[in-house]
């Protein structure tokens, strides 16, 4: 039973409590650069998750054979090989999205969130929890990318899921929802400053929810101890 609750803890950490983007504030470079639309965010999120899971599991498996002194170069090489896989896959199957994300796919190598998980978690844990950790952290990161992308897309050009055919194939062209049609795009939201402010708002929203939860728990305890 202990393992199960550990896994639960790992998932909760990755998705919310220790979210890579909202709490650790890692991987901000791709986060801020590619979240112009929800689909771009989702594409990069999936790629990052794949690399994160792969590197976490591999590092965990060979963790006893890695000399401590040169562990960082080894992590980087492992991550780089997974990134190469992702890059070739995206080049083959989602070529247009590959062009849009451009330099940010190879740059996944330098995403601190990935090497951070390898160092902080995978190099100290069994493969299965490492897998869970990679998945949870990746999905948590992806969700933030998607929410931020949706936010900027909505404010900037009045759509959600614009360009979904880039990732999902031609059938998904109709998924795009147009909320309002405008001649003037709200460029501020689409340009990098909009990403910074959007991320700031998301972090604030998360902290607000946490605070509210704490206050509720505190009040609940106070009532319980009074009665």
């Amino acid at each position: 039973m202990k393992i199960l609750s550990d896994n639960k803890q790992v998932i909760h950490d990755g998705l919310w409590h220790n979210n890579a983007a909202l709490v650790q504030l890692l991987g901000l470079c791709p986060l801020l650069a590619v979240t112009g639309t929800l689909i771009n965010g989702l594409g990069l999120g999936i790629a990052t998750t794949f690399v994160l899971v792969g590197s976490n599991v591999t590092v965990s498996i060979i963790r006893k054979h890695i000399p401590k002194e040169i562990r960082i170069p080894i992590f980087v090489m492992l991550i780089a090989s997974f990134v190469t896989n992702v890059q070739l896959l995206m080049n083959a199957f989602t070529y247009e999205l590959y062009l849009i994300l451009g330099i940010f796919i190879p740059l996944i190598v330098t995403n601190c969130a990935i090497i951070g998980r390898a160092e902080a978690f995978a190099s100290k844990n069994q493969p299965i929890p490492s897998f869970m950790d990679g998945l949870a952290q990746g999905v948590g990161f992806t969700i933030v990318l998607m929410v931020l992308g949706a936010l900027r897309e909505f404010v900037g050009q009045g759509t959600i899921l614009d360009g979904s055919h880039l990732l999902l194939g031609e059938w998904a062209r109709d998924l795009t929802v147009h909320f309002y049609i405008t001649d003037q795009k709200f460029l501020f939201a689409i340009l990098p400053p909009g990403a910074f402010i959007g991320l700031g708002l998301l972090v604030a929203a998360k902290n607000y929810l946490d605070m509210k939860k704490r206050v509720n728990e505190f009040v609940g305890e106070a009532i319980a101890s009074n009665s």
Binding site: Q184, L187, F188, L191
Partner: protein, 353 residues
């Protein structure tokens, strides 16, 4: 007669200071209305009202007493400063977005008056400029050049509907009598330079001098208001003086280097928002530097950046960008220019003891 110790200053309350600043804006505003039409007045009401409404809303959300804060007139001033910085026919929702962003994001999210690191009006202006570059540079020509000028009701229709009842759009009012469209002198200068024309050629073009005249008068108006502010000691002399001097020195040097590429100081002083910037924008007591020496450095650097961005940057006007950049630097400038407290020694001297 009331007696008090000589080191007590009679500090005006914030609301009085803001009222004075608003009053000092009036000469410039009147000239701007004369040269660029009634749209300016509509924008003043629109932005002023939006600013107060936004302030009220945020303060309500923050569980503060809204009226005691709104009474200090700082939100109103932010709205008015933004209103005179935007084109007189800007669609109403853009003015509302800009003003709302200035108050909610640039001012209240940082903690309200006194805590904002950036000048709120300029944050609103820059937001609008980079979001809607076309609309934000669609200034009407100065009144003496315009083929037709919008009446008050036509200005209303342009701002709120985008077209007058007779079907004219903003661009129709921007056309001069000979069918030529005129941008602001700064904008025009920039575009013509990219086409390979020389400054002397551009200045001798039809209408350029007449359009520049309108802008110069507006600048004189704000300079006059600024002198009132200086005379009433509402603002200190350091920032405007070093700012203007720095513009003169930087632009003169560039002009001396290549007179056909870089315009002389007399052009930079009377175009764009130079005087509005010198006396009303850069002197914002919250976001500017606060030490005497620091103010000199702060103003000089803004003036330098303004000339640099105007000549080499992508946008025609630079006051907003330069002010925001130096807002970031103000705490550092203050740190290194702290005045000596009387009776204290510098570190160097105390080491010698």
């Amino acid at each position: 007669m009331k007696l008090s110790s000589p080191f007590f200053h009679h500090a005006l309350p914030t609301s009085k200071v803001m009222q004075l600043v608003i009053a000092a804006l009036i000469p410039g505003i009147l000239l701007q209305v004369y040269f660029f039409g009634y749209g300016v007045i509509i924008n003043l009401f629109l932005c002023g009202f939006t600013a107060i409404a936004a302030e009220f809303l945020v303060l309500k959300l923050r569980d503060r007493d809204p009226w005691s804060t709104i009474k200090d007139n700082s939100a109103l001033l932010t709205g008015l400063l933004l209103a005179v910085a935007i084109p007189p026919t800007l669609p109403f929702w853009m003015s509302i977005v800009g003003t709302g962003f200035a108050i909610v994001f640039a001012k209240q999210l940082y903690g309200g008056l006194g805590f904002n690191p950036f000048n709120p009006a300029m944050v609103g202006y820059v937001l609008l400029l980079i979001s809607f570059p076309v609309e934000m540079t669609a200034w009407l020509p100065s009144v003496e050049l315009a083929a037709k000028t919008p009446s008050l009701s036509e200005s209303m229709q342009l701002i709120f509907v985008g077209k007058t009842s007779s079907g004219l759009s903003v661009n129709d009012f921007r056309i001069l009598a000979d069918g030529y469209t005129m941008a602001t002198p700064l904008d025009h200068m920039k575009t013509e330079h990219t086409l390979g024309k020389m400054s002397s050629e551009i200045i001798s073009q039809n209408h350029f001098a007449a359009n520049l005249k309108g802008w110069a008068w507006v600048n004189y108006g704000y300079a006059f208001g600024g002198i009132i502010l200086l005379a009433t000691k509402t603002i200190r002399w350091q920032i405007p003086a070093s700012f203007l001097l720095s513009i003169v020195v930087t632009s003169s040097l560039l002009h001396w280097w290549d007179p056909e590429l870089y315009n002389p100081a007399k052009f930079h002083l009377v175009t764009g928002a130079t005087m509005l910037g010198a006396f009303f924008i850069t002197t914002d007591p919250v976001s500017a530097s606060t030490t005497p020496k620091g103010r000199l450095i702060y103003g000089a650097l803004i003036g330098f950046l303004v000339v640099v961005i105007r000549n080499f940057g992508g946008y025609p006007e630079a006051i907003g960008f330069a002010v925001l950049l130096l807002n970031l630097a103000a705490p550092t400038i203050d740190h290194y220019t702290k005045p000596q407290v009387y009776g204290h020694q510098t570190e160097k001297e105390s080491v010698h003891d």
